[in-house]
């Protein structure tokens, strides 16, 4: 171990398989299909902030020829960049996960007023079941609230086609179009046929149209009227839109559904009549009423909120929905079948109790070191969104709140203001590099401006880890792997006015504890930047000079201190009293620790924790 050299980030671009020339069907994920659909639609500018399950769209899109793609600092900026590109008359794309649209909601609502020049599509990738999210909000509500049409594909093949439809609609109706996926569309792979390349009907260039683009109240009031007219036209369009379609079958049961729920309905009730809404908003009320009048009973099957159901009921059509279908979590064909028929499918095998396997920080993860250090401080840890949120789990258990991107700083400061001087030394905020750039900077400004003393710990691991290692402004590399200006986090903190900014190595736990103690006690704002690369960035994975660690079994006293790190490489081996004796341990020693050489990454965090000096480098041991 020793000094962690500051490694610049070279992201090697992988060229995508998705060839644009072949006409053969390809196996694509929903996200890959959306990227292809955007490319075939002639999209020139795409901007996004990474977020599961949306991330792969831009990662794939950026590999196409003749396009510009970027990681923006956050979703609001991403949407603004896409909107600007649309103003300049080119087709543009912004992609984000569901909670990202909360951040981008501000431009969204007014972009509905301005409308577009070049087609503008916004992807919202929702995450029912919260596979990788902090909530499972249903973003169809945004389409309604912002008065923007929304398309909802049910599989990769539709995802690609719907992109092309969305761009045509956007230009024809002068509106941004939302395309909503869910995890089971975004991360499902299916067969997709490549299609023809299309282009915008608009000419690129600067055009001054203040009555359309300057949303002063006087202009906005006029656009507001336009917006109503547009929605009326869209409602009419929905009636004949081919992707709103009825598949007639047995007329006893009629299902109204959209997105992936359509597939569950088809699997559970292959013979029933189905009204599939390719457009999730606005609704074709004529079509819905007509469909309802021709079936005995109407069922609305949708994940999460009763969005379709509420609107169908408002049309005066009676239907069954959420009294049968769960309003949280994902659906599947079995759940739908059971909900409608009331007959539970017999589970053949019940789950058996086995050890849980939760996600965990990797062996050698720099976050582990700093959170172990923080856990020694006995403070309230206002946390944030990233891999490091896993530090909330045992044995580190050192995160006490986690709400949304950037919230660590504001919430820590709010607690401090609530408690006054008593809070000194008792609260810290912890935030990752990418999250700090996303929306932590403004929180830090609040602390400085309003004379707080919060300690903010910024975890700089040179990447956006959780979403799959995207570069970000503080890594100085772009989405396509080009070297760019590195946004200096330390300089930002100083420029904001934080006088005490210290950079430390999170792998050196003892030193980190000392710095933490000094800074939390300081009655002034302070920032501690922990700098060490994520073990999964390519330079770290490729490095040859890794020195592994091992436990000398004869020295291990079985005190279990090292296990409190929670490193997956450190394993406890239990021994019986007889075995203990045979191994030369005291009879009451219950076991010993062992380091799994396949997993150890050589970070060295564990060695100084062992009071018995049992953990040493493998080199020293001569192995």
């Amino acid at each position: 171990m020793g000094v962690i050299t500051y490694i610049s980030r070279f992201l090697v671009m992988k060229k995508r398989e998705t060839s644009t020339k072949t006409t053969e069907k390809q196996l694509l994920s929903g996200n890959e299909a959306i990227a292809l659909g955007a490319f075939e639609s002639g999209v020139k500018v795409a901007s996004a902030y990474p977020g599961t399950p949306s991330t792969e769209i831009l990662e794939n899109f950026c590999a196409y020829e003749g396009v510009y793609a970027e990681w923006a600092p956050n979703e609001k900026v991403a949407l603004e960049v896409a909107l600007g590109a649309s103003f300049a008359g080119v087709r543009a794309l912004a992609t984000m996960k569901h909670v990202g649209l909360n951040v981008a909601a501000d431009p969204l609502f007014t972009a509905a007023y301005t409308g577009v020049r070049g087609g503008l599509v916004i992807i919202t990738a929702d995450d029912p079941e919260m596979h990788s999210s902090q909530n499972e909000q249903d973003n169809r509500n945004y389409a309604f609230a912002a008065k923007v049409p929304m398309l909802e594909p049910s599989d990769p093949s539709e995802a690609k086609e719907f992109m092309k439809i969305a761009y045509r609609m956007s230009e024809e109706f002068d509106t941004p179009v939302l395309v909503r996926t869910t995890t089971r569309v975004a991360h499902v792979k299916g067969l997709v046929s490549p299609g023809k390349h299309e282009d915008s009907s608009v000419k690129a260039g600067i055009e001054k149209i203040p009555e359309k683009l300057v949303m002063l109240p006087s202009n906005a009031r006029k656009r507001r009227v336009e917006l109503e007219k547009r929605m009326a036209r869209l409602r009419e369009f929905a009636e004949t839109f081919p992707e709103n379609r009825i598949e007639w079958g047995d007329r006893k049961r009629g299902f109204i559904t959209s997105g992936v729920s359509y597939l569950y309905v088809k699997e559970a009730f292959p013979d029933a009549s189905v009204l599939k809404l390719g457009m999730a908003y606005p609704f074709p009320s004529g079509m819905i009423k007509d469909f309802a009048s021709k079936v005995d009973e109407v069922f609305v099957v949708e994940e999460l909120d009763p969005f379709i159901e509420t609107h169908v009921k408002a049309m005066g059509v009676s239907c069954k929905g959420k009294e049968l279908i769960p309003s949280y979590g994902e659906l599947n064909a079995g759940i739908v079948r059971r909900a409608i028929t009331g007959k539970a499918v017999e589970t053949v095998f019940e789950p058996v109790p086995i050890p849980f396997r939760p996600p965990n920080l990797c062996p050698g993860c720099p976050h582990r070191g700093i959170f172990y250090a923080i856990s020694k401080l006995n403070v309230f840890v206002a946390g944030d969104i990233g891999c490091y949120t896993l530090a909330a789990l045992k044995p580190l258990s050192s995160m006490d709140s986690c709400v949304c991107m950037g919230a660590s700083i504001g919430t820590a400061f709010g607690m401090e203001k609530a408690l006054g001087k008593d809070a000194l030394g008792k609260i810290v905020a912890v935030i990752g590099d990418s999250t700090f750039i996303h929306s932590g900077i403004t929180g830090l400004i609040d602390i400085v401006y309003n004379r707080g003393f919060t300690t903010v710990i910024i975890l700089d691991n040179r990447t956006t880890g959780m979403t799959g290692h995207q570069p970000n402004p503080s890594t100085g590399v772009t989405i396509t792997g080009d070297i760019s200006t590195l946004v200096d986090i330390e300089a930002i903190c100083r420029a904001i006015g934080v006088k005490h900014v210290r950079t430390i190595n999170p792998h050196e736990i003892e030193a980190a504890i000392k710095v933490l103690r000094e800074e939390v006690e300081r009655p002034e704002p302070s920032v501690i930047i922990t700098k060490a690369p994520c073990v999964l960035v390519p330079e770290m994975k490729k490095r040859k000079d890794k020195t592994l660690f091992l436990v000398m079994p004869e020295k291990c006293a079985g005190c279990r201190t090292c296990l409190k790190l929670g490193c997956p490489a450190i394993e406890w081996v239990a021994v019986t009293p007889e075995e203990a004796k045979r191994l030369g341990y005291k009879e009451k020693q219950k076991g010993y620790s062992r380091i799994n050489a396949v997993l150890c990454d050589g970070c060295g965090q564990c060695a100084p924790l062992c009071k018995f000096k049992a953990i040493v480098t493998a080199k020293k041991e001569g192995k």
Binding site: T52, H187, G190, A333, I354, N360, M466
Partner: protein, 197 residues
């Protein structure tokens, strides 16, 4: 129509294995849908991929009790997804163990009767030491191809098709080892099937 459930631990090459299988099924003229989960769920946690094939596949998710084949890349994981299986299901289990946190920290033991538990349910169990087999094939990272080889014996696709897909999809320098691993996998399963009569 068939349902294959791949499960294991993040980083074991499950996605590539399910991908190769998907391509082989497609080459054989079948429709497929494959569902996987990325993001937080991957960080060393339990990972599962659903692969469904047939003339026309709607839902991307296998229903509980409906998996025809389970391919478990890690022994303990074979038990975790038990509710997806039925009495006719076949279970291919890599006998490799990756210890979950509660085991490494000594809170609870790793169950030592995983295969017995599976067999106790009347399931057709095919235990494979895929790590050792991959080592013999010359590439310890080819564990996934050993298991694809085993799985291929149960699918309506010729071995040739699989080989062609591996040649198309696996980088040149790993090809030989992967083709060899696939062959080993098929042999292993052949022997197990013969032994089972």
């Amino acid at each position: 129509m068939g349902n294959i459930l791949f499960c294991g631990v993040g980083g074991q090459g499950i996605l590539l294995a399910s991908e190769i299988t998907s391509f082989a099924l497609i080459k054989a003229g079948l429709d497929i849908k494959k569902s996987e989960v990325h993001g937080m769920a991957q960080r060393g946690g339990s990972v599962v991929a659903h692969l469904k094939y047939g003339d026309k596949v709607y839902s991307p998710l296998i229903e509980p009790g409906a998996a025809d084949i389970e391919v478990a890349f890690e022994m303990l994981e074979s038990l975790r997804y038990l509710p997806y299986l039925n009495r006719e299901s076949r279970v291919i289990v890599n006998t490799q163990k990756i210890l979950p946190p509660s085991v490494t920290t000594g809170v609870e033991p790793y169950p030592d009767d995983v295969l017995a538990q599976l067999r106790g349910k009347g399931l057709a169990v095919f235990p494979v030491n895929a790590f050792e087999a991959a080592r013999l094939a010359g590439e310890t990272k080819a564990v996934n191809m050993i298991l694809v080889g085993c799985l291929s014996a149960f699918l309506p696709v010729e071995a040739e098709v699989f080989r062609a897909v591996i040649k198309e999809r696996v980088p040149e320098r790993f090809m030989k080892a992967n083709i060899e691993a696939f062959k080993q996998g098929r042999e292993i399963i052949g022997n197990l099937l013969r032994a089972a009569g």
